[in-house]
Symmetry: C2
Subunit: 402 residues, 2 copies
């Protein structure tokens, strides 16, 4: 076993730590009374990047003093690489520079980016099939184009919130016995996803290759696309999910850089048919990344990101096929990540077969989410002697307001 690089921050070297020196995820934090600024997580500390730049330790054109990472991200990959190398040097064991570190326990974490636009995909074949059976029956479960293109839809950027934000059970219109009914959602669900952060602009009419698209991905967050299944079932044909997905989408505060995941590159699910050239990848586009979710502290589902069929790079390339311009801060949800087994599913809709087979949660029975339930997502890639963790992505359900 290769001895992994160690950090001068002792907590970063502890087994199972989410934020070792190999990770260096970016976020936005504030300490009491001060304005939010950018930071990097290391062990149980946050390195204040705005202060680092003020001290002359790094250089990023002042972007780290901003309350979102968009400005830094827009500087491009060469700068990302540069700053990452420099941070690795500053935080390595033996480095002696005076660093502006604060305790993670003392900071408030904010939405790390100003979300330009949010697109959600549908790239797990297991999930697409399972949900398809429930919504449309086994014959029409997997749409005919599914194995030929990443299916996605535009979500709502304004309802993306940071981990820890409470999620209100929505009111909405659902199918009733005798016509539509206005009610508190009865089938509130989570969706276990990753979100890719687009790190560059493309111009209108420009089509990105998968290779170029991959180069434009800054990093990844955990993403919970809360879903009101009863509202969804009534509204979603023919134009897709709308208000059933607008009640809130939670992302984790720390953006794990693409570079930190590079050692875990992995092939995805086996292809059923060859893809059109514009979607073909020259190298494996997934990561060997364990991902799962908890309800009220109990692990419910756990699978691997490399069970997915389309990578974020393929999704981004497809997103530009008709000329759509992409922008720094665009957030691309992978789609719900589900494996084939029940305990590998990333949504209650699948896990309980549309509410027909309840699950046990700490001795209580659940079909969909109840008020007070807290969902947490987790993900980690495990290297030799270190773990690239994503940190928390939680949300608790508040009762509906009629």
């Amino acid at each position: 076993m290769v001895t992994p690089l160690r950090s001068r921050i002792a907590s970063a070297n502890e087994p199972g730590c989410n934020f070792p020196i190999q990770n260096l995820p970016y976020g936005v934090f504030s300490i009491q009374g001060a304005a939010p600024r950018c930071g990097v997580a290391i062990g149980d500390r946050v390195l204040d990047l705005a202060a680092c730049e003020a001290q002359g330790l790094i250089e990023a054109g002042g972007t780290f003093a901003e309350a979102q990472l968009n400005g830094f991200i827009a500087l491009g990959r060469a700068k990302w690489d540069d700053v990452r190398a420099r941070l690795t040097g500053l935080l390595a064991e033996g480095a002696t520079e005076d660093l502006p570190l604060v305790a993670m326990a003392d900071v408030t974490l904010h939405l790390p980016i100003r979300v330009a636009e949010f697109t959600d995909f549908y790239a797990s074949r297991n999930h697409a099939f399972n949900v398809g059976v429930l919504f449309r029956g086994p014959e029409n479960a997997l749409p005919p184009q599914w194995t030929h293109m990443p299916i996605g839809y535009n979500g709502r950027a304004s309802s993306v919130v940071v981990s820890g934000t409470p999620i209100r059970r929505p009111m909405g219109q659902v199918r009733g016995e005798n016509g539509p009914e206005w009610t508190a959602c009865r089938r509130l669900d989570l969706e276990l996803e990753l979100g890719a952060i687009v790190g560059g602009d493309s111009t209108m009419g420009e089509r990105l290759s998968v290779e170029r698209a991959e180069g434009m991905i800054f990093g990844y967050v955990l993403l919970n696309d809360w879903s009101a299944r009863d509202i969804q079932a009534w509204e979603y044909q023919p134009l897709g999910p709308f208000q059933s997905k607008a009640l809130g989408t939670t992302i984790s505060p720390w953006i794990v850089p693409q570079a930190a995941l590079e050692p875990f590159r992995s092939a995805g699910a086996e292809r059923v048919n060859p893809l059109l050239p514009y979607l073909q990848e020259e190298r494996p586009g997934f990561y060997d990344l364990t991902i799962g979710w908890t309800m009220n502290g109990q692990v419910m589902g756990r699978t691997n990101y490399n069970a997915m069929y389309y990578s974020s790079a393929q999704q981004l390339a497809h997103h530009t096929q008709t000329g759509c311009p992409m922008r720094v801060g665009d957030l691309l949800g992978t789609g719900t990540i589900s494996g084939p087994a029940r305990d590998q599913t990333g949504a209650l809709l699948e896990m309980t077969q549309g509410g027909k087979e309840p699950v046990d949660v700490n001795g209580q029975s659940r079909t969909f989410l109840e008020d007070g339930d807290e969902i947490g997502l987790f993900a980690h890639a495990d290297g030799e002697g270190y773990r690239i963790g994503f940190g928390p992505c939680t949300g608790r359900i508040l009762p509906a307001q009629a």
Copy 2:
């Protein structure tokens, strides 16, 4: 007949002028070498609002010097009313203040707002039925929830462009004889719509009443939601239109204030069933507004906005039903506006019955758009002795780039 208010700008008083003193639409313009700033159209002139404020003629916190109207719009309805009253005074016949006016012919017009997010609806019963028959057959044409809620989907804000921007025929994936095919779009279409500009923020979890929603609408533009029908047919199930709608959405440069349309308030299409309380309007929510489109200069379709089933206020209220926060600069497309007759349809898909019944355009036959075709939208509300016009909303098709 009441004598209408007249302007000191002679061209504004001419019969059929789009921009009389009763209109006063807002836009963003530039003159050679100068930065874009906000203006108001009056006759064949543009009143430079940034210069007006610099001269002390109006007061809007400096927002008119910005390159989008978002800053001004965010000041709220009381300020909108205030500025409108003041502009009416400054531009009325007999007023003598020295005004910074430029010739419309000398200006370049820009996108009037930074589009926060773009949502497109589906609110013409004729259009929904006609298109439904073509995509799904007559039995499933009108979805069951259609008469109970405004169906909408999130579009892509980054591909919204201003009138005059050329539209590139997209490449894309379509259903072929033996599986999917990568091709230049063969069924390129327009969609005749209005766009409502949201003029206020709402917070997450807040549901807007129809009445409050109406008060938050700043004004309206023409909107052409260019559509690649072959790409749409292959991609749109089950999550809705995506890349087929991301090639470009053209809006007119002038935002007609809601206040200018107030005298034309009108009921919409007759209701088939009562709406749930959250969608009920206390007063008619439509306008008696002629709207239509031209191809290569020939009028093709013409109908009235009051043939629609859901108003923009109802759409905005519905948009917040599950708690989705709305923001200044959100753009809500009404959906394609079609009357029942062939020459009242707002899309070639409907007009040609999915390409089966070509139409004549200046002696040439068309099913869908050909390279070089230019589409123009128009709309006007006709008062006693004046016309509230929307001005141009045009786009010409460029050939695909393989």
